[in-house]
């Protein structure tokens, strides 16, 4: 196994990448002076991966919505105990999360990281599903689905995705629905596990007060080599256009909120990173309180300090989302598209562009201060098919012309969806 040292030329930070003989990609960052250790063991398997096959499967398998999240819950149960009980013996804090394109298991500690890492690598590689423990989990996940449906931020986001995507599974709740999870059984969980929890489809990211050599020694001891199964996921054809431009829902909220999403063309690897960076700078310019559009909306009471933007992307989807609290979200939409038109006609002020770039650079460097953020950075870079420090390099090379090009290509009125959660009258 060869250790590849990845270095950030701007800050001098570095981490190690190893392609382990088991098939696993491992990222390690030794952070001097820090006490904590964060580790994430992740798979490229999320809620969108509902249709798939391996090279030995004759046909595609189609599984119920919410199964990746269900599997995450069940993997925390060993044959003889719960994983939480193992971590109770070491004092580590542990948890897991499932998103659209990944499932991650993680721990955080400041002592006994060697033992914690062994527990992590072991339990993720040793599934134990029975019909009895699957049935028992239905109630808890049903509660979780209900709870998230009471979260207006969640509702406004999924309502937007539902109006934006015709067929892509990103429009479906990560946890699925009460009906979809009722179709899950132990056999289906094993089928998904065997397909996606193959080390060739997985990554270990670990940072903090660690020794890289010790981490690799534990990996040698605990990882079971896997043959690459030639995993292939397919997604339905997704038209460029949206389903409908607006959706409203009333909820018991104190402040009305909105998501305004622009459906953009999905890309991959470094090409996607360039678009993500351009989109992020465009979003910063369009939500910058220092610039006249936002200054006026704030002064007129149309928006408040919650107004902001974010880039949301993955396999087959890419959206720039503007969000915040407002009683007048239609005015925000109008102002935003008028400002985009103005920028495309008059160009971006170079001083503003350089200021936003500096601000983005500052945020990226500050992230390297934090053990958890570094672990996330390394894991996300694997999932996104890039190198951990590529973002700093790409932002440094970005020009205002790149941002103009992105806005001209992607920020179109006819591909915008406004989702609103309104207060009850």
């Amino acid at each position: 196994m060869e250790k590849e040292i990845l270095t950030c030329t701007r800050t001098g930070d570095s981490c190690i990448h190893v392609k382990h003989r088991s098939g696993l990609d491992i990222y390690i960052c030794e952070m001097n002076g820090f006490s904590s250790i964060e580790a994430q063991f992740g798979t490229k398997y999320g809620s969108i991966n509902t249709v798939f096959k391996t090279s030995s499967d004759p046909e595609y398998t189609c599984v119920p919505e919410g199964i990746a999240h269900f599997l995450e819950h069940k993997l925390f149960e060993n044959e003889d105990c719960k994983v939480f009980e193992l971590y109770a013996q070491t004092g580590a804090s542990c948890n897991a999360m499932t998103s659209f394109d990944r499932t991650c298991y993680f721990f955080s500690c400041s002592k006994n990281y060697e033992e914690n890492l062994r527990i992590l690598l072991k339990f993720v590689q040793e599934p134990y599903f029975t019909q009895e423990n699957v049935d028992k989990e239905m109630g808890i996940i049903g509660q979780e689905i209900k709870m998230t449906n009471d979260n207006p931020e969640w509702r406004v986001f999924f309502n937007m995705l539902g109006c934006m995507y015709h067929a892509h599974p990103v429009k479906t709740d990560i946890a699925g629905t009460a009906e979809s999870i009722a179709k899950i059984d132990a056999d289906l969980l094993y089928k998904c596990y065997d397909t996606f929890y193959n080390l060739n489809n997985m990554v270990l990211s670990i940072a903090g007060n660690i020794s890289a050599d010790k981490v690799l020694e534990i990996c040698d001891e605990c990882l079971h080599p896997c043959a690459d199964k030639g995993l292939e996921c397919v997604f339905p054809d997704e038209p460029d256009g949206i389903v409908r431009p607006e959706i409203r829902e009333t909820q018991p909220v104190g402040a009305s909120i909105f998501n305004l999403g622009c459906k953009c063309s999905p890309r991959l690897g470094l090409e996607r990173l360039r678009d993500v960076t351009a989109a992020s700078v465009a979003s910063s310019l369009l939500t910058d309180p220092a610039l006249p559009m936002c200054e006026k909306l704030l002064k007129d009471g149309v928006i408040n300090s919650t107004f902001g933007g974010e880039v949301f992307y993955g396999s087959g989807y890419f959206t720039l989302i503007f969000s915040g609290e407002s009683d007048f979200p239609e005015l925000v939409r109008e102002a935003l598209f008028n400002e985009i038109d103005r920028l495309l006609t008059e160009g971006i002020n170079e001083k503003d562009f350089q200021r936003i770039k500096k601000s983005s650079y500052g945020a990226l460097v500050t992230e390297l201060n934090n053990v958890e953020a570094v672990t996330n950075l390394m894991l996300s870079s694997y999932i996104d098919g890039i190198s951990p420090y590529d973002t700093i390099e790409v932002i440094s090379a970005l020009t205002s012309a790149d941002v103009m090009d992105f806005m001209r290509r992607e920020l179109r009125r006819d591909r915008a969806v406004l989702s609103i959660i309104e207060k009850e009258k």
Partner: protein, 421 residues
């Protein structure tokens, strides 16, 4: 790590923490005042407007432009509470000069900007600038209204009002909507002048290398202010209600919320914390293992000890039809602890978790600031390691005594409207 606290003026403390592993600098300026319905909102508006503009950057746009030029430096106001105290002020963070691409003095510029925010704010006569004040006021009113957006936060807030009824701690850190609506730029400026004179002030600065210029700036400016600090009694024991109270509200929600409050006359905060960890703070605590995992009654069910008020809270998300079952199991697990059904494994697990947690305090500027501020409010400066030793000294008997000291005080229920009982 190097730590030093000096007194810059009467009850104005400046704590400097130097840790060379960080790439950024962080500052927190806290004003401590007694919580009161009369002053909470206007005090909050006063510190809120400080971060919107100052005499040099006279509009929010100017302020935001300057902060983004300084590599996205962050400046925001703070409003929270601890026991009977309202904690207001501002927090700032910025990239260390070492990482400035064009050699800018980010730290020096931030020092000047913060000086201007605190000691030369944007005023017109005896009032804050009206445009800046209007922005701060809208933001505060929206924060107050928006509390209902997060149902668990709203439920806990209502339960706190019920548990500490007629006490300063019942007041929200933001203050009330009515008081915020009624406040004027003059009121807010007066409130700020009063805070500069009378609040207890604690300042925290975390940086990768020694830099005395911030402390000097604060010393010079506080020398101009005639201080007359008022003591704030943060901690007291909230009285137990004669009969436990239950208050319910109905909303069009899918999941109900239950928040249970207990009161204690115990001052053994380390035993209460150990009790809390074993009972319900972690995924291997009794509440998680039994209420959630074994009986599948709640997606979340956890507890927290509020030692400053002699209170103890259990919060949960639960189906309306399961509320009584969940309550019974929550109380049954507490009874187990009262009877001494606590294993060595549970005690060791709690200690291990606390040991891990205290060591992580030094890994972030905010960890340092919270730690030293808590030491200040507790009136006792100890290291995280000494803190851990206090937990390690807690015996099973002390945990049992802490459990037996808990008496039911009140329950707040947010109920799903659609289910008819």
């Amino acid at each position: 790590m190097i730590y030093e606290r000096v007194e810059l003026s009467d009850n104005v403390g400046f704590t400097s923490i130097i840790d060379d592993k960080f790439k950024s600098c962080s500052l927190a300026v806290y004003f401590l005042t007694e919580l009161s319905d009369k002053t909470a909102a206007v005090n909050n508006l006063a510190t809120g407007v400080l971060t919107i503009s100052n005499s040099r950057y006279k509009t929010y746009a100017d302020m935001c432009e300057k902060l983004s030029e300084l590599y996205g430096a962050v400046l925001c106001s703070v409003a929270r509470k601890k026991g009977n105290a309202q904690i207001l002020g501002l927090r700032a963070s910025w990239l260390d000069n070492k990482y400035a691409i064009d050699g800018e003095d980010i730290g020096g510029e931030m020092r000047d900007l913060i000086r201007s925010c605190l000691f030369s704010p944007n005023v017109c006569g005896e009032a804050f600038d009206s445009d800046s004040f209007a922005l701060a006021k809208k933001d505060l009113l929206d924060r107050i209204d928006g509390e209902l957006n997060q149902k668990n936060v709203y439920a806990v807030s209502q339960a706190v009002k019920l548990a500490f009824r007629d006490e300063p701690a019942s007041c929200a850190a933001y203050g009330s909507r009515d008081a915020a609506s009624a406040a004027s730029p003059e009121d807010a400026f007066r409130a700020y002048q009063e805070m500069l004179r009378t609040a207890q002030i604690e300042i925290y600065y975390v940086s990768p290398q020694k830099d005395d210029s911030l402390a000097e700036m604060f010393r010079e400016n506080f020398a101009e202010i005639k201080r007359s600090p008022k003591p704030v009694k943060i901690s007291d024991h909230s009285p137990l209600k004669p009969e436990p109270l239950t208050v319910t509200e109905e909303f069009d929600v899918n999941e109900s919320k239950m928040v249970m409050f207990f009161k204690t006359d115990s001052d053994d905060r380390y035993a209460l914390k150990m009790l809390s960890v074993i009972y319900g703070e972690l995924p291997f605590s009794k509440l998680f293992l039994n209420v959630r995992e074994k009986l599948s009654l709640c997606y979340y069910c956890s507890c927290i000890s509020m030692a400053t008020k002699g209170a103890f809270m259990v919060e949960s998300g639960v189906e309306r039809s399961n509320i009584e079952k969940a309550k019974a199991e929550i109380l049954a697990q507490l009874d187990e602890m009262k009877k001494g059904n606590i294993t060595d494994n549970e005690i060791n697990g709690a200690l291990m978790a606390l040991d891990n947690a205290v060591l992580q305090i030094t890994d972030s500027p905010s960890g340092y600031i919270s730690w030293f501020f808590d030491c200040f409010t507790d009136g006792r400066f100890i290291t995280p390691q000494e803190h851990y030793k206090e937990f390690a000294a807690v015996t099973k008997e002390r945990i049992i005594a802490a459990a037996n000291s808990l008496k039911p005080d009140c329950v707040y229920l947010m109920l799903n409207k659609e289910v008819q009982e």
